[in-house]
């Protein structure tokens, strides 16, 4: 069974990585692969988003399938499928001695906290959901670092320019570019922080094997709860000699004593104990189900978790940003994003939109959207603008926090408005010609128009320049003007979120 389990884990990890790498534009309008399918199958994300926003995410029914599968097969998802679980299996292999489960109850408190908060409209599931953690960490940190390392390696060989060697290395490099590397070098603010958290999550496996899975994972807790009722049951027969081997190898610490007794909710269904038992006394089957240990998560702790989840709602909401998003003009959400309150209820911070963003402009927030909005996407035009004919972020969003828009709708959706800083603008303040913002403005009738004006230079010489103006009716706030403005540092034209289609009140124009 161990071999089959490893094949299954490896296969799902490979599929995950393949779909992850495919979460990138090839130049067409669609990606062509179901890149968010893992998230679609995730019941925690679906239900948390459902509880908080009262809308049914697109993956809701797939998530139900996973729950039904768990009702049959127990937590087999954790043991056989979950790509983060597989990484933990790999890291845990480096830890020698197994330890008993100590903090396994914590994950149930995490789950209860998340559910209670979601019920009261605060949706934080994505922060701790394993698939969200994995995709976010990969997208914003691991994959960019991997790209940087590989590029750096081949660029160094390229710059050394050793004959023959370069030909070979460039051939390999091109092969990698076509397969596993990203099109450009991805860059993310907080890449370091998110990477550090990810490393800590993995490093905890040296404290206890599969520490995350046994102690922290709220999805594991949810599936564990369901697996109490699973048809497939683990049983130990009387042949057991109480040698205690199964207890030593149990990766989740579910087996509580040398007699092979286990907490059923903790069992990952990896079936290693079945394989290893010298007496063959452990088996998984539809009948039986003897010897499982009752579990007490503690009534007081359950109540505390629920109360904490509810209390988190006012705690995180009493900020000016929550009152109205007018307080942060740089809170530019992707096109198709729901109205801010609704958006926060739905966004599970998986980072798919940031991974797929064609210009790298979508970046994770830290406090820009309040504590509640941590790691949600905002457009930072200085890093990358919103490409006029691209609709990818809406295509990959698993919960509809960013609605999938048709190309026509996308091109009409305002995410903000461009404002000109005349004090910095070359034709306004320095008598220098420049039309770059107008040139790159993508709307069919350009939102930026030019006014020929006679200005004087220092010597009093009259020069005709074309001064840009923004037509607020036409501007969609894509930010290409800000990105391309030759005035570096603080560009002379910049986007604010006022005027965004998704908001009723954050409007400049009377309409």
């Amino acid at each position: 069974m161990i071999v089959y389990r490893r094949i299954s884990q490896g296969l799902f990890l490979l599929i995950f990585c393949f779909l992850f790498v495919q979460t990138e534009s090839k130049g067409g309008d669609e990606l062509g692969y179901p890149v968010k399918i893992f998230l679609d199958f995730d019941p925690l994300l679906s239900f948390a988003a459902f509880l908080s926003s009262h809308t049914v995410p697109s993956g809701f029914y797939l998530a139900l399938i996973l729950l039904i599968a768990t009702l049959v097969l127990g937590r087999a998802f954790c043991g056989w499928v979950c790509p983060l679980g597989t990484l933990h299996t790999m890291v845990s292999a480096l830890k020698g001695k197994n330890s008993p489960a100590r903090w396994y109850r914590v994950k149930y408190y995490n789950l209860l906290f998340i559910i209670a908060a979601s019920l009261f409209s605060l949706q934080l599931a994505g922060i701790a959901d394993p698939l969200s953690v994995l995709i976010r960490s990969f997208s914003l940190s691991v994959y960019p670092a991997f790209n940087y390392a590989v590029r750096g390696f081949f660029d160094t060989i390229y710059s050394l320019d050793i004959p023959h060697v370069v030909n070979v290395s460039e051939l390999i490099y091109r092969g990698l570019q076509r397969t596993v590397l990203s099109f450009g070098q991805p860059v993310f603010r907080q890449g370091f922080l998110i990477g550090l958290i990810f490393i800590i999550i993995l490093a905890l496996d040296f404290v206890d094997k599969r520490f995350w899975c046994r102690s922290l994972c709220p999805l594991g807790a949810l599936l564990g709860f369901v697996s109490r009722f699973a048809l497939l049951k683990r049983s130990v027969n009387n042949a057991c000699t109480s040698c205690g081997r199964c207890q030593k190898i149990c990766p989740s610490g579910a087996i509580t004593d040398e007699h092979g007794n286990a907490r059923i909710m903790e069992c990952l269904y990896c079936m290693d104990c079945d394989d290893l038992c010298p007496q063959g006394s452990i088996s998984f089957g539809l009948s039986g189900g003897s010897k499982f240990v009752a579990m007490n998560v503690g009534r007081r702790n359950v109540v505390s978790s629920l109360v904490a989840g509810i209390a988190a709602v006012p705690f995180l909401r009493t900020t000016p940003i929550s009152a109205t998003n007018r307080h942060n003009p740089k809170l530019i959400r992707p096109p198709g994003a729901c109205e801010e309150k609704e958006f926060l209820k739905k966004c599970v911070r998986c980072g798919e939109c940031m991974k797929v963003c064609i210009t790298n402009g979508l970046q994770p927030t830290l406090v820009d959207a309040g504590a509640e909005g941590i790691w949600t996407p905002i457009l930072v035009p200085k890093v990358g603008y919103c490409e006029f004919r691209c609709t990818l972020c809406g295509q990959v969003c698993p919960t509809g926090a960013i609605q999938r828009l048709s190309l026509d709708d996308k091109q009409r959706t305002k995410i903000g408005l461009a404002m000109i800083d005349k004090g910095r603008c070359l034709p306004y303040s320095f008598a220098l010609p420049c039309i770059v913002c107008e040139e790159v403005c993508p709307t069919a009738t350009k939102a930026i128009w030019l006014e020929s004006t006679l200005v004087a230079d220092r010597a009093g010489k009259k020069i005709t320049v074309q001064q840009p103006h923004v037509d607020l009716e036409l501007c969609i706030g894509c930010g290409i003007c800000e990105k391309q403005c030759p005035v570096l540092g603080e560009p002379a034209i910049y986007v604010i979120n006022s005027g965004e289609s998704r908001s009723r009140d954050n409007q400049v124009l009377l309409s």
């Binding site: 090839k26 099109f183 064609i358 010609p433 770059v436 069919a444 030019l450």
Partner: protein, 301 residues
């Protein structure tokens, strides 16, 4: 018959039919015994008019020698479709590539430093597909391949330019004719912005002079100006089909200034109306005055 030859003959056959007179254009081209400076060909098939224009200048063999590495430089700057006329017509590009291979080119390379996302530009313009089908090596810009080039020009002292275009045996410029907020129009010389590295938007402060400076170091063997569709407003990226006018024309020549000067007339203006053309003429890069040029105009009915 290999793929390239098949595609070529298929294209030619298609062109012949759409021209309405079978292989008329080949006969017309064969008449061009006298040397000419500029050819303007009008007709409904981009392939046919491009082939005819090159033939009228003496055929591609005049410009490409057997074994040459040729860079064909279209404008792929924008994430727009061919109908929107922001990028060079993909059929015109493919035809030039086919003619290069027919003349014995070893390799034809196609690239452009785009303004919008390169993947989308290459794909949506139709140029990546058509150029690849014609057998060209289509690559995205590799930032390691820019090199500071001493220009000592009117505006630019040095600027990073793309080494692949400098190292090519022959360069063929295949721009599209469009309006532009500052330059007035973007034609051939403006297309060299696509091989400029660095923070190139700065050159708009002295755009015309900068373009002439760059045009001085990139010497195209041939320029084929695509005016199959032109943008008459909201250039250079357009997006509104009402701004597109179908002229069904290509203009070809070997003098960058002359081709641009003629190109200006498509918009009802004169060469001297365009700063870059005027400056280029004054520094002797080419000839602006159309009355001094031998111009051949061919029209397929």
């Amino acid at each position: 018959m290999d793929r390239r030859k098949f595609l070529k003959s298929a294209l030619l056959a298609g062109a012949g039919i759409s021209a309405g007179h079978g292989l008329d254009f080949l006969i017309k081209a064969a008449d061009a015994t006298d040397a000419v400076d500029i050819v303007a060909v009008r007709g409904t098939s981009p392939t046919a008019i491009t082939t005819s224009a090159v033939a009228a200048l003496g055929g591609m063999k005049r410009f490409v020698t057997r074994g040459d590495i040729v860079v064909v430089k279209p404008n792929i700057g924008w994430d727009r479709t061919p109908e929107q006329a922001a990028n060079t017509n993909p059929e015109v590009v493919a035809t030039i590539i086919n003619l290069c291979y027919e003349a014995g080119a070893r390799k034809v390379k196609v690239f452009d430093r785009t303004v919008n996302d390169a993947r989308r530009c290459y794909e949506q313009s139709g140029i990546a597909a058509s150029a690849k089908a014609a057998g060209a090596e289509v690559t995205f810009i590799d930032n390691r391949k820019f090199q500071d080039i001493r220009l000592d020009g009117l505006a630019l002292k040095t600027w990073p330019l793309y080494t692949e275009i400098l190292e090519a045996d022959k360069v063929i410029n295949v721009p599209i004719a469009k309006t532009h907020g500052l330059a007035g129009l973007t034609l051939g010389m403006k297309n060299w912005m696509g091989v400029m590295g660095g923070w190139r938007v700065r050159i708009h402060q002295k755009l015309d002079k900068s373009l002439v400076d760059v045009a001085h170091v990139i010497k195209p063997a041939l320029i084929v100006l695509d005016a199959v569709r032109i943008l008459t407003a909201n250039g250079p990226q357009g997006g509104n089909l009402n701004d597109v006018t179908k002229l069904n024309t290509v203009i070809a020549g070997t003098d960058q200034v002359a081709v641009d000067s003629y190109g200006v007339t498509l918009f009802g203006r004169k060469g001297e109306d365009l700063g870059a053309v005027k400056i280029a003429d004054s520094v002797g890069l080419g000839i602006m005055d159309l009355s001094k040029l031998r111009i051949k105009e061919i029209a397929f009915s």
